[in-house]
Amino acid sequence: MGDEARPGRRAEKGRLPAARLLPGSSRTWLGAASVLLALAAWQGVVAAGLVPGDLVPPPTAVWRAFVEILRHGYRDTTLGEDIGATLGRALAGFGLGALLGVPLGLWMGMSRRASAAFGWIVQFMRPLPPLSFLVLLILWLGLGEASKIALLTMTAFPIITSASQAAVRGVPELQIAVARSLGATPRQVFGHVVLPASLPMIFTGLNIALAATFSTVVAAELLAANDGLGWMVLSASKFLRNDIIMVGIVLLGVLGMALSRFLLLLDRRLVHWRGRA
């Protein structure tokens, strides 16, 4: 996020008329049709022998593998356990990153000194791919959950901090000045002007951070893990079970979409004045 905040931009946009989007129900039907068509094409291509079925499992094989895992689990773990483990790690890392990142970001946004003191650390953490220091984290924090959650926290934290900082900076000076001139104390200015105005961009940051954290959870399950959807995919690849790999991918995709939607829903509910001046 950084400095691409343009304070006036959101206020000036008037969203294009609803006619630019198809009505909700048509959109859903068309989307579903599109997906079904793709699945049919996929099944057809494999059935016709154009691609080997063991290399590219057709949707039927993927479904069969899914049912198998649903019933018997995968290598001593039930599907529920794997989903729970992955989800738990992602949410824990994201939550910790938000818990640390939002206050720090807000502070850095309010205080130029804090920004100067800590900004460079956050900026440097951002492009660091988490997987590059997984081994170090395991060395420091052991084989258990701590190292994995630390990895995920390190993914979420810089994104959320930057977004929160940019959000505060993006609050129009005018609003703050007006509040002050009306006699508001610094705390009131923060609580009633800065914080509410910052929420939209903070939520954008949270959304991006959640996506990044979820993407990284598979990487976190690369070493020293014995459950989780990511572990399942990686383990299946060792045994060349491409159908199980696909089950894992589909489940991860659906889970990711669900998390994304959920956060969007929260965004719309809690931050409802978005887009208004």
Binding site: E4, R6, G8, R9, K13, G14, R15, L16, P17, R20, L22, L30, G31, A32, S34, V35, A38, L55, R112, R113, A114, A116, A117, F118, G119, W120, I121, Q123, F124, M125, R126, P127, L128, P129, P130, L131, S132, F133, L134, V135, L136, L139, W140, A211, A212, F214, S215, T216, V218, A219, L222, V233, S237, I245, G248, I249, L252, G253, G256, M257
Partner: protein
């Protein structure tokens, strides 16, 4: 408003951390395996620079990684932006394409990299395809939002002046969407970069990401740290490069 000197604060935290680090390693408070000291890091860096690592020079490793990022990001961002522009401009296309884009976007890259390797081998192809698929949905969504957020007044004004739909798109919609497209691009670069490192770890024999992981195998923490620092600097460099391009192209942003 008095202007305040801020750099002392940056220097203060930096110096403090550096001092703590140097002291910890000098006093042997931490096993160099866990946290190598600054002196060791510097000599290891020189070692890598002068002697390379397992068959490739350090610049070669860095260069290979950069090439992969640029190829994957470049192709994915361009195709993604085109798709996104289409989604923003044509509601039908949006309805058909949305499920795929929205499924691909949050999908953990490492998960389907495994499949890509099965299909394309562990050479360059699978990695570039992975990076392409990583950049695509991010660029698409950004471009789509950019088109959707074009102020209505501008389109109406253009129409009033008698512009055709194609002209409106080229001269109003596309330029107005550019700032958001660039936001998407910068976001995509970051994600692509992180994905690249993961890809090099799973399926690589060279590249700076692979170097870090291979060094980590036998706990050569000194190389790991040097590599991570280099990765961080490269990432900052990529972001800076994009911002410079953005500034030149989108010079009216903020007005």
């Amino acid at each position: 408003m008095k202007t305040e000197l801020l750099w002392p604060f940056t220097v203060a935290t930096a110096a403090l951390l550096f001092a703590a680090w140097t002291a910890a390693s000098a006093l042997n408070l931490v096993n160099p395996l866990f946290l190598p000291g600054p002196g060791l890091l510097f000599s290891s860096f020189l070692d890598l620079l002068l002697n390379g690592y397992k068959g490739y020079s350090l610049p070669a490793h860095i260069g290979i990684s950069l090439m992969r990022v640029l190829l994957g990001f470049g192709s994915g961002a361009i195709v993604g932006t085109l798709i996104g522009l289409g989604m923003g401009a044509a509601p039908l296309f949006d309805a058909l394409a949305a499920p795929f884009v929205e499924f691909l976007r949050p999908l953990p890259q490492l998960a389907y990299l495994v499949l890509l390797i099965v299909w394309f081998g562990i050479g360059e192809t699978s990695k570039i395809v992975l990076l392409f698929l990583t950049a695509l949905p991010v660029a698409a969504i950004a471009a789509r939002d950019g088109v959707r957020n074009v102020p209505l007044q501008r389109i109406q004004a253009a129409r009033a002046l008698g512009a055709s739909p194609a002209q409106i798109f080229r001269h109003v919609i596309f330029p107005s969407a550019l700032p958001e497209i660039f936001i998407g691009a910068r976001l995509a670069v970051g994600i692509v970069y992180a994905t690249l490192i993961a890809a090099e770890i799973i399926a690589g024999s060279n590249g700076i990401g692979w170097l870090v992981f291979d060094a980590g195998r036998f706990l050569r923490s000194d190389y790991v740290f040097v590599g991570v620092l280099l990765i961080g600097l490269m990432g900052l460099g990529l972001d800076f490069a994009l911002r410079t391009i953005e500034r030149k192209v989108v010079h009216w942003a903020g007005k």
